[in-house]
Subunit: 205 residues, 2 copies
Amino acid sequence: MAIATPAELPRWRRLEPDARREQILECAVRLFGERPYAAVSTTDIAREAGVARGLLNHYFGTKRDLYLEVVRTLVLLPDLDDATVATGPLKTRVQRSVEWFLDVVSVHAKTFVAVTGAEGVGDDPEIERILAAADDRAARKVLQTVGLSADVAEHRAVIRAYGGLVKAAVREWVRGDTLNREQVQLLLSQALITIVRDVLPEVNP
Amino acid sequence: MAIATPAELPRWRRLEPDARREQILECAVRLFGERPYAAVSTTDIAREAGVARGLLNHYFGTKRDLYLEVVRTLVLLPDLDDATVATGPLKTRVQRSVEWFLDVVSVHAKTFVAVTGAEGVGDDPEIERILAAADDRAARKVLQTVGLSADVAEHRAVIRAYGGLVKAAVREWVRGDTLNREQVQLLLSQALITIVRDVLPEVNP
DNA sequence: GAGATCTGTTGACGGGATGCCAACAAGGCT
DNA sequence: AGCCTTGTTGGCATCCCGTCAACAGATCTC
């Protein structure tokens, strides 16, 4: 027996602002993760969330603002476990640090590649800023892990550049065809060791 | 004596398809190099080229197609001079190669950073493909310069990853605040030396 | 439980950008 | 001079986005 149909049932449900915002954001993350920015319309996101298009603007401002929120959500990396803050010789610390990072990445591999990948013409200062902040945070962690101060701006800059190597290497790996994890680990470890040993001491003002 | 003014002078000049195409492409390169994709309208490009908007579609198809053409144009790097194909010890060859590269980059610095800059979420397969091809070309050049075969897929993959380091480092430099050219050169040289010496031999199948 | 109130949500409007295409005209040919 | 080729224009139809006034769930009051 079917449930009795009420004469009037609500056409839409009311949600707490935080809940609604979260729900919309989730849909946006999914869609922006699948297709390029321009290929995702606010109509798509609204439909996906089962919501009027105008509501996106109400909660996030412009489409671009929503997009920035998505990026901010995706670039967050979990903090380094205290357990993995290594002691011992440089080589050991570096290797363990790289291992930890690859572990983390391998979980969110697809998303990670999507976020750090896709380089194209048309610098977007705002996005640049967000990613730069994330890179700087990562650089501080790396310096801390290998036992150096994170307060030297030049050192952080070098490590941020090293981050470019990390991303590119992970992309080669996750894309699944060209390098395997061991090879990536070797590359990243050797490079970081050289940087800490031979480069950082020279860029110190 | 001034030239006699004809009663009617042409409202527009006819150009050879190639010439017109080239002219439009130049304007597109300039604008896309300055602002993000979405912030450049076809109207802007058309106005800049002194041409009707519809002509862009006639020559390039969609705005996106024009954009891809711009990317293709920008990622081309001049070939390595034969003169700079170094002989001598590895260290010398590497350093000269890095120097050459930085020279090239410093000319197109602004554009280079714009092209290789991070766009953010939303992998664009087409652009990915174009940039990957360019990276692979660059990787072959590097391998050739340091005197190795470019036929080992794993080696090219490692060097493509190295390209990530190069781009990130150049960005730190060109952005003008964090690293200077000497520091970048040191970083890139040391890293490449380590890669050639300690990494490539290990990833050989 | 009926009405007042609050506010989350809708739907339509205006501005702007894009792709398309038929008509137009510049420049060469006969 | 008139014709022909085809590079070029300009307007139309469509879609996307931001705004905002009006609507209607949900809650409170009496």
